[in-house]
Amino acid sequence: MTTLMLETPKVSTEEPEPKTIEKVAIVVSKGSLEGIYPGLIMANGARMEGIEADVFFTFFGLDAIRRDRFEHIKVATVGNPGLHMPTLLGAIPGASWLVTRMMKRQMEKIDIPPIPEFIELVGDSGAKLYACKATVDMFGLTMDDFVPQVEDVISVGEFYEKAAGGQIIFT
């Protein structure tokens, strides 16, 4: 029998970095159903873990927080290879409506709320929602166009200030 002497591992004297995420800043830049949900799910998921969350809506992502549009978000049936559906079929009037209805039904089954309810849930959970100033100016919008959960219209610079010290997630 032999005894192996293993080298003692070198112990670092530096404090280890904490292994948890304390804060996230999520950018929602797309206005389709499949473009908006991931950001909302990640924001809600962060809050559920006690992680601070800011959500910044930009370009067509603003549709998720627009009073007149957030109830009418649709799946993109054209130019969406993930659907595995011929492009021409996706272009038929009503195709987007139908696919959206089917997908919403599936989501309801696994307890994912519709977008208006989801925005309310995310807002109530303490995540902060912001609209992108450049887009708001481009589309000629004001705070009145947005749902009450929206905290403010902020510039990219202000977004980075708020995101300081956290992780940025672009969707």
């Binding site: 799910i41 809600n44 998921g45 809050r47 559920m48 873990e49 006690g50 696994i110 307890d111 994912i112 709320p113 309810e117 849930l121 109530d124 959970s125 303490g126």
Partner: protein, 105 residues
């Protein structure tokens, strides 16, 4: 898995501090877990949420989503986060002696 003595009973926890056997749970254990998770005192509203989580898990085999918790427990989402700032579903499950909820919502 580690066994810890709480209120003169041996309780088994997983690596994240959730009870591995919901049957070992009692109210003293709940209070002790709450204290360890920065909830010094469990109010009636805390208990409402904890009992709802627990009974739903024991009935269905899965913990309710945060959406169901907000709609059906009688405690709205905003208040859930005031009661359990570090995550209502996760903490209420921990205090209620059931496994960590696996759902994304």
């Amino acid at each position: 898995m580690t066994a810890t003595m709480i209120a003169e009973t041996s309780v088994d926890f997983d690596a994240e501090g959730f009870l591995t056997d919901p049957a070992q749970w009692n109210e003293d254990i709940a209070r002790e877990i709450a204290r360890e998770n920065d909830i010094p005192e469990l109010t009636d509203r805390h208990w409402l949420v904890v009992r709802f989580m627990r009974s739903r898990y024991l009935e269905t085999g899965t913990a309710p989503s945060i959406r169901a918790l907000g709609k059906e427990s009688g405690v709205p989402i905003k208040e859930l986060y005031e009661l359990f700032p570090k995550g209502p579903a996760k903490l209420a499950a921990k205090v209620g002696g059931i496994p960590k909820p696996r759902g994304c919502i």
